[in-house]
């Protein structure tokens, strides 16, 4: 008797502890009681949703959406890091923040051409140093405060000035993308923006220190969107979990590693948009499980379709595939500091050894094109005159002989441990490449290690030949060339340790040229030199694919890895 009493006490204590823990730990508790997807709620204009939810008659077990329901579930592989776009770089974060936030400019839905967004117009002075933006009037943030020129200045100050009251540097916020795209921070020698002047409520002027060819592209990036200053004041460093912007959807709740719920912004400044009432971003880590969920109708769009499944989806009733235009490069880099890879002839020889067509048909299910430049084809400065290194083992062997390696040599071939859009299965790719190299008498040992270790090790220069890739974010060629092949970025993103002053000079010049043709010529010249030097084997530009239910209308995947779902709707 005594014992059972004791046990009961123990059990009760446990329950109380659990309940206590649960009570105060979810910051979103109060907000979670939101409009559940539900037919009756559909016509409802905003208010009173909470009440409806309580009397909700939907039995909730039928996950397939009912007709007319405008709730879209978008399934993806991983959770967002933060909902403060400026302080993070992961694509899963910008996928969400693009719905909540807007920048002064935006990209065309099919390209990286800039279009008006919060700024309806802009002027550039003759010396290319002053940019004046004319802002949309009558735009309000989700918290009801006005969007105006002061808000723009507050946001830029936050990123550029470490002493700004909203920089939150002590709380671990770092605006690295700002530093990369705008040449550093306030006070740095290369900082592009000299000053920002508020002319009036809806007119703002950026004065630059020196001309910048990519300035407008940068302004349009999702990393430089507008947060409500009042919300920064209110939430402080918790802004990463309480985003307040001007975008088509409002933040509702975030259950970590599970889902993020966004509701339609009823006061959106563009008339009759967005079409959807609610968007739910659901984390489903496993690719096959995600496809199963799509087939069973539990979700509407899935990211990260295996290239092998693409063809099947095309024919499957009720489903449709989506293609994201190519915007990346998968490459095999040489450590140009290390013999024998310090010899351009060896590097050229190995370029001739790789059979890219086979690689593409085996690994990418033909959803990729062979690469001859490091830049994706649609980019400014893409050099189409370059003759690709043809697959030619004999020529490769000749070059090896010329370099004095007629008997071949042995090296380590590093393969990434993770799937990337540019490289869906690095280890299998490594096996294909291994066979290619064996054909010309080179023996390679495939080396792989855990991802975090891999990234750190290749900076130390211990690697011989390594696999990696790069994806574009703003459509600017400098983002590829400046990061991957300039001396300044050794060893952080330039892990081939490739250094050529001629290339450096051309890139430096191109950075400050505003005229597009002139810029393009400079990049083309640089690419020609790089082609001869061959610091890497440009393998492929891949086309990432997604799949969705055929009810999804007007969904256009943007090449930058994410897009706003403003125009998307569900049919029937």
């Amino acid at each position: 008797m005594k014992k059972s009493l004791w046990l009961l006490l123990l059990a009760l204590t446990l329950i109380v502890v659990m309940a206590a823990c649960g009570g105060n730990n979810d910051p979103n508790d109060g907000e979670e009681n939101v409009d559940a997807a539900n037919n009756e709620d559909n016509m409802d204009e905003n208010n009173g949703n909470n009440e409806n939810d309580a009397n909700d008659e939907n039995d909730g077990n039928d996950d397939a959406a009912a007709a007319g329901d405008q709730t879209l579930i978008f399934a993806r592989g991983g959770d967002s890091q933060s909902l403060d776009f400026a302080s993070v770089t992961d694509g899963e974060s910008s996928r969400i923040t693009l719905q909540i936030y807007e920048s002064l400019l935006k990209f065309n839905e099919n390209s990286f051409e800039v279009e008006p967004s919060l700024a309806h117009d802009w002027d550039i002075s003759d010396d290319d140093l002053t940019f004046t933006f004319y802002l949309e009037e009558g735009v309000t943030f989700h918290d009801g405060t006005d969007f105006n020129a002061d808000a723009v200045k507050t946001n830029f100050d936050r990123w550029s000035d470490p002493d700004s009251e909203f920089a939150f540097a002590d709380d671990g916020y770092a605006y690295t993308t700002y530093g990369n795209q705008f040449g550093g921070f306030k006070g740095d020698d290369n900082h592009i923006i000299d000053e920002i002047n508020v002319i009036d409520d809806h007119e703002i002027e950026f004065v630059l220190n020196y001309p910048s060819g990519a300035f407008l592209q940068n302004i349009a990036m999702s990393y430089f969107a507008m947060t409500s200053p009042a919300a920064l004041e209110e939430y402080g460093s918790d802004i990463n979990e309480n985003p307040v912007g001007t975008g088509p959807f409002k933040f509702v709740s975030w259950n970590k590693d599970d889902r993020i719920v966004l509701d339609k912004n009823e006061d959106y400044w563009q008339p009759d948009l967005p079409k959807l009432d609610q968007v739910i971003f659901q984390v489903i880590p496993d690719n096959s499980a995600r496809l199963t969920a799509l087939r069973s109708g539990e979700i509407d769009i899935m990211d990260g379709l295996n290239p092998d499944d693409y063809e099947m989806i095309q024919e499957e009733p009720g489903l449709q595939p989506f293609e994201r235009e190519t915007n990346n490069i998968g490459y095999l880099g040489f450590n140009t500091d290390k013999a024998p890879f310090d010899d351009p002839l060896v590097r050229q020889a190995m370029n001739h050894a790789v059979d890219k067509e086979t690689l593409i048909s085996l690994l990418y299910a033909d959803l990729a094109v062979p690469a001859k430049n490091i830049l994706p084809p649609a980019y400014l400065g893409y050099n189409d005159d370059i003759e690709p290194y043809e697959y030619d083992p004999e020529r490769a062997q000749e070059l090896l002989e010329e370099a004095g390696y007629a008997d071949g040599f042995e090296f380590d071939l590093w393969a990434m441990p993770v799937a990337r859009p540019y490289m869906p299965d690095a280890e299998r790719a490594a096996e294909v490449l291994q066979a290619n190299f064996a054909d010309i008498g080179l023996e390679s040992n495939i080396v792989t290690m855990e991802w975090a270790t891999y990234l750190e090790e290749i900076e130390t220069g211990v690697q011989d030949v390594f696999m990696l890739g790069w994806s574009g974010t703003n459509g600017d060629p400098d983002y590829f060339l400046g990061n991957l092949l300039s001396t300044a970025t050794i060893p952080s993103s330039n892990q081939t340790f490739y250094s050529n002053t001629e290339v450096d000079d051309l890139l430096e010049q191109a950075r400050s040229v505003v005229d597009e043709d002139e810029r393009a010529a400079l990049y083309e010249e640089a690419l020609a030199i790089i082609h001869e030097d061959a610091p890497m084997i440009n393998l492929v530009h891949s086309t990432p694919v997604l799949a969705g239910s055929d009810r999804v209308q007007n969904y256009v995947p943007h090449l930058s890895t994410s897009e706003a779902l403003t125009h998307v709707e569900l049919s029937e």
Partner: protein, 333 residues
């Protein structure tokens, strides 16, 4: 017994302290740099250096450990390097999700495993015995990954009976109170959501419970065989008790101790090691939480996550030990 419990709870302190030193050392010794991982494969050197500075990663190892322990003593589990959020607020929903799944899986494993074991022992060498033991053997050696995907394919995609992912219908979210969905839907008086939550538990619960079920079945069988051969069982039978009473009241009660040990160990393991199930069924549990933190070198999350898992493991074992003396009065502490 109270003295024993207090002593065991006090032993938690050196155990957790030792754990924390070991985890802290291991995660700092393995290569990989959190700042580098946070910034990804497209990071610049200055950015990485700045972030390291900001996150305090430049400080000596023991200083970092000291800061961590100081915060821990204040009841602060730290801040995630990656998400910048407080770990105490992030960890509870994950832990609750895993506990709910574990409880369901163990209830399934115990009910099926114990009964299969008992019947197998009772009808030793019958076709049921052979069948159950073959199933148990398959169960132990079944790759969860494969089992989970097969379940999804059959029950979600082909038959459409059960949902393939998550803890509830995302279109009709449950209002979180305790973060146990079953409890929350009861508290909110939503029987529809209770049913939905239950349906979401079935597939992952069975996938997760399969291995423990098989182990429990085998353990119960061998333990029961021993008991059923003992003299007092023969006496009970001779007195004319009904078979069901012989088996369950007299037999199983004496055979339960080894089974209980297995149950305790398995429960502890499931609480920390349900990563595969949590991944396949998109269950936002603590296994995935810590696993992803390891990939990201999110030191405070790994540290605190493992601490919490270790804590749970020790507590469960304590409960099991206390149950021993409840079940068998001969065991005294």
């Amino acid at each position: 017994m109270i003295a024993y419990t207090v002593r065991r709870l006090l032993m938690l302190i050196p155990v957790l302290l030792g754990m924390s030193i070991v985890t802290f050392s291991i995660i700092h010794l393995i290569p990989g740099n959190p700042a580098q991982v946070i910034l990804g494969d497209q990071a610049t050197a200055t950015a990485v250096a700045n972030l390291e500075e900001q996150l305090g990663l430049n400080e000596p190892f023991f200083v970092q450990y000291f800061h961590y322990m100081l915060d821990l003593l204040r009841g602060d589990l730290g801040t995630s390097l990656r998400t910048n959020s407080s770990i105490s607020s992030e960890i509870w929903p994950h832990l609750a999700a895993t506990m709910e799944l574990t409880i369901f899986a163990m209830v399934f494993a115990i009910i099926v495993g114990v009964n299969a074991g008992i019947i197998s022992a009772w009808k030793q060498n019958s076709w049921f015995d052979y069948f159950a033991m073959i199933i148990a053997l398959i169960g132990v050696s079944m790759p969860i990954f494969w089992l989970g995907l097969m379940q999804q394919w059959i029950f979600a995609q082909e038959l459409g009976w059960l949902p393939a992912f998550g803890r509830g219908n995302p279109r009709d979210p449950i209002e979180s109170i305790t973060n146990f969905n079953i409890l929350d839907s009861i508290i909110n008086g939503r029987t529809d959501q209770l049913w939905t939550s239950f349906k979401h538990l079935v597939l992952p619960g069975i996938a997760l419970g399969t291995i423990p079920m098989a182990i429990i079945a085998r353990m119960t069988r061998s333990s029961m065989l021993e008991v059923l051969r003992s003299d007092y069982i023969r006496t009970v039978e001779a007195k004319g008790s009904r078979p069901i009473s012989v088996i369950y009241r007299h037999g199983f009660k004496n055979a339960v101790i080894p089974v209980l040990t297995v149950v305790g160990l398995q429960t502890g393991t499931l609480l920390g090691g349900a990563i595969l199930t949590e991944t396949i069924f998109s269950w936002p549990g603590i296994g995935r939480y810590v696993f992803e933190a390891i990939g990201n070198r999110d030191y405070p999350v790994i540290q605190s996550g493992i601490l919490v898992i270790a804590f749970m493991f020790v507590i469960i074992n304590l409960v099991v030990d206390l149950l021993y003396s409840y079940i068998d009065p001969r065991i005294k502490y």
